[in-house]
Amino acid sequence: MEPFGTTDTVFIEIGCSQENKAGNFVCGDTFLSHKNKNNSAYLSVLSDGLGSGIKANVLSTMTASMAMNFLQQNEPIVRSAISILNTLPMDSVRNVSYATFSLANIDNDGETTIVEFDNPSFLLFREKINIKPQKEKVLLPNSPEHRIIRISKLKLFKGDRIILFSDGVNQSGIGRNEYPFGWDNDGVEEFVQGQIDVQPDISAHDLAKCIVRQAIKNDRFIPKDDISCAVIYLRDPRRLLICSGPPFNNEKDEFLASTVDNYPGKTIICGGTTSQIIARELHRQIQIDLDIPIGDLPPSAKIKGVNLVTEGILTLGAVAEILENNPSLDSPPDNPAGNIVKRIRESDMIDLMVGTRINEAHQDPSLPVELEIRRNVIKKIAFLLEDKYLKKVRLQFI
């Protein structure tokens, strides 16, 4: 196992924002992303269904999930695109395909393939510079309608952003005096350039949100089409260390304390004994704030240099429950567990350091069964973070 916090790898953040066409309850665009566990490639699909409403939603969902399944099976991306186009029907009246799509496959080392079919062209920003990648146009075989897919092969580096959007974005504002032909690709490019100039490290999630908000504004707050934007951003990982449990051997106490003290990121300690060990080793005080409203969980505490100190097993159990039942993580409860979840949400790479010494005091048969074994709770959290939230997780038992 690699040592905590020393490797300088790139993290791929994927953020998406969507708005329904005015009057619709569902979005006709679908965005899916997935991290392939076998080769740690990131897969993303944005599909725009013909029209809007339920029909468009079904069409785009079908297209996107089909694409995602192909890519997850390691089917080559171009062949996947061709299979989708050959399988999905055409609209008999308009003689166009039912759904457009953009597929992106980003390898662990930045090798990227993007295949587009009838979606607005993606944007690539390298730091602050807008790059126009070369695209290979391929006329689909066995396709009488001259359907063309565009293929881009790129090598991405840290600081790169790929921006995918549906035509609801570049056609927003169409017909207005300012935008007779809509916002247009040039307008979107200019806007993104402006955002990145002002805030060079804007997150994928925030940038996607800004673009969608501007498109809604262009439409005078009554969206004329479904509006979707997804941003893929390669950047330095934001790291978080969560320590829980005293080390099995107390010779390791010093190691635990110095790991916390020297960690290149945010730090959380869960557990009374653990925090006492770290405070003792670092010669610092533990301060507990009794003014926090009394809830189900014991209060959090403060140690200088540590971002958050909480009680152990009860709080971690509550964290696991939030992660399991609240997929958006948007408004975690205002308690120690909620505070941990907030930190987790703001991090990409999470190191879990778990002490394995058994707490003698917890071996009381009168204790409730909810007091689960620490290792099991942590393992559950690690699994949820990787599987559901696409975080990079490293687990170390000491």
Binding site: G272, T273, I288, L290, A301, E311, N359, S366
Partner: protein, 83 residues
Amino acid sequence: MDQKIIIKICVGTYCHVMGGYKLRELRQQLPEALQDKVKVEASVCLGCSTLKEKPQPPYAEINGKLMSDASLEKIIEELQKIV
């Protein structure tokens, strides 16, 4: 009395589960006569697991003296004795 009585209540897992969460109300529950004479603090663990006998949580500590099976009533009674 010049020096305040320092009382620590344990907010560790074991004590919390065994009823210690109620002790956090101590400051609000103190009789008026005691309000200025007592300083309520919290501790993440008062060390019950290192005791030789079977622990009887929740624990509190009054001026350095450990009290097992603590409750609001028991603490207040003890405080009144000291004052």
